[in-house]
Subunit: 378 residues, 2 copies
């Protein structure tokens, strides 16, 4: 009886897997290793890509987790990947393409490319070490991260490479030590230097990618340049330029006008063009901060696109409060947030304590009301 | 110009506050201290109570944060308060009553009541210290926590007490040390003992509450008995009995048949009546755990009401993964969860890494599809 049940469970599992996603599974034959059972993750939102699952496992990137090791600001990682998805959406529509983690650049390749050029590492895309230790005399590391994303088209039962996006993360500040475990120094890199270096690196990456096995001579390749935020930044960096090539040349760079801002701004001096949003935020903050006898910390990340507010993440940090207090607080936030926070842009509000996230509210661009969720426990 | 703007901001703030919630504000006159500006938090969901805000501040409990200090299991706190709200909803409908944190029992009162009875503390509701140190010979602490919740009716511009709910938290295990900072010992308390002691304590609490200023002789008072989970439990405790009185007597105790269970169950032996839900959960777990090359931890809390599954909280713990991996994983979860997890009950799924909550999925009792949210950052 038990065996039968397990068999039924197994069979239904397989049927469910087969029904998963949009791609029909190909017959798995152990003799041909190239034939893989491929499915997609499904889509929760038409603005997002589906991902690729092979034999029940997510197809992770061949260069998973490789960046130059001094990337101390985790925010850069999130905004780099999210931003790269957004740049890709300009070229590869989520309705037509399936997202696949980079499969053409291996960890070894990316590690070599991120290194300094040297006798041992002729492929290094960072400048040779000139032996100098002075911030202004040394050759800084311009290149911090390379990320590959593949965009696949569905062709019958198979996925075929339809395009590649490469993100190139460039340092605005290069942190270094003069001796091992020594004090940290830094070399500032100007936007102009970053742009020049970024474009030179991009040209080399494009040429090398064209020579990589599996990448067609005319596969569209998007290369996007990203300015890393400094280590002490409370927001991640932003993409500032991208180009698309279906050959060996770049030269039609498009500007991306994006800015990340923190509210409240340091020293009360808001950046140009943000003062209205900041005063709205400040009003909201005043309302919220006095709700409990103990002060709550209220901060926000805001993103500007072509000088218009594009979205906001509000974080409210409370001390430990009881469950009923969190429920009431969340209800109150749902009432005051639409009145004070800027309209027409997506906004997330996260309420957290030392025990982690307690509740959160979210609103899409087109909505006025927030949906709320209080994290419970049995 | 700036002053005018501030004034306008202030005025609009006051107008917004006045428009907040359902209760009209009364004119604030500094000479009569009783006249307070009262509003409510608003309601995000018709099944939840609104809370009370006085002069812009949340009206916190007079005995905020008082429990016997050895309550090491935080899960008890959440399930105690959530459970008490649910018991209250049987008697006080959220559409008719406004929730107010307890205002009649002060911190001092509750602290005295939670203590052992002694010459210095004649009001102590825990038994006298008999001097014994043996687990079976000593008088254990039966009473662990007392929580008061007030349910208010709206009467013109004022809120009036409409009822009180008292939660009485009782130990299933009493932890103690034989000397200060010594090793921890424990006394087990049987369900029968707990019930007898709980009812005796409830009778005393009811009498004392009737004598408290502001509590009417016939105000409905709900008293609910809660069994605390042991310190090592991965779920909180449950309410097992409640009674309603509009006089001085109790004696119509209603049983609450509630159970919290953890999946996967320890040693693979599931509790009676949960095996079907557990095997569904195990199938889901198998699907999910193999998604990434590194194993993910998948656990769940399930609540049973009258032996029927009433809800589930699934927690998936991953190592650090990239943003695109979390997006794909969340899409995948949204696809497999409806197929494997039990239908017809509310389910939350939280994906967390060492950096905190990464994404979450949620479904109400009546839905099939999950709503998803990936926590982003700019």
């Amino acid at each position: 009886m038990k065996k039968v049940r397990i068999l039924v469970a197994l069979l239904s599992t397989m049927m469910v897997l087969a029904a998963c996603g949009n791609i029909n599974t190909t017959q798995q034959s152990p003799s041909t290793t190239n034939k893989k059972k491929t499915q997609t993750t499904g889509q929760t939102d038409s603005g997002n890509y589906q991902g690729v699952i092979t034999n029940g496992h997510y197809l992770t990137s061949k260069s998973r987790g490789v960046t130059n090791d001094q990337d101390a600001n985790q925010l850069n990682l999130k905004s780099f990947e999210n931003g790269l998805l957004n740049v890709s959406k300009k070229q590869f529509k989520p309705s037509k393409y399936v997202f696949q983690e980079g499969q053409y650049l291996s960890s070894g390749t990316v590690t070599d490319w991120l290194g300094r050029k040297s006798k041992d590492n002729p492929d290094g895309l960072n400048p040779v070490d000139n032996g100098q230790k002075d911030a202004d005399k040394r050759n800084p590391l311009y290149l911090q991260a390379i990320e590959e994303q593949d965009y696949m088209t569905q062709n019958g039962n198979d996925l075929k490479l339809g395009g590649i996006t490469i993100g190139i993360g460039l340092n605005s500040v290069d942190y270094y030590t003069k001796e091992k475990y020594g004090a940290q120094y830094s070399t500032k890199i100007s936007d102009e230097q970053m742009k020049t270096q970024g474009r030179e690196i991009a040209a080399k990456v494009l040429k090398r990618l064209r020579r990589t096995k599996g990448v067609g001579a005319d596969t569209p390749i998007v290369i996007a340049l990203y300015k890393q935020a400094p280590d002490d930044s409370l927001v991640g960096g932003t993409f500032f330029s991208y180009d698309v090539s279906d050959g060996n040349a770049l030269g039609n760079w498009q500007a991306i006008n994006q800015r990340n801002v923190v509210f409240p701004s340091a020293g009360g001096t808001s950046e140009s063009g943000t003062s209205n949003d900041e005063s709205n935020f400040e009003n909201f903050k005043t309302q919220v901060q006095n709700f409990f006898p103990n002060l709550s910390g209220v901060t926000a990340q805001a993103q500007y696109q072509d000088n218009n507010l594009a979205g906001m993440n509000v974080t409210i940090t409370t001390q430990f409060y009881s469950e009923t207090e969190i429920i009431s607080f969340t209800e109150y936030l749902a009432q005051v947030a639409p009145k004070y926070l800027p309209a027409g842009v997506p906004i997330d509000i996260t309420v957290q304590s030392t025990d982690g996230v307690q509740s959160f509210l979210s609103r899409d661009a087109g909505q006025r009301k927030f949906t709320t969720h209080v994290f419970g426990s049995y």
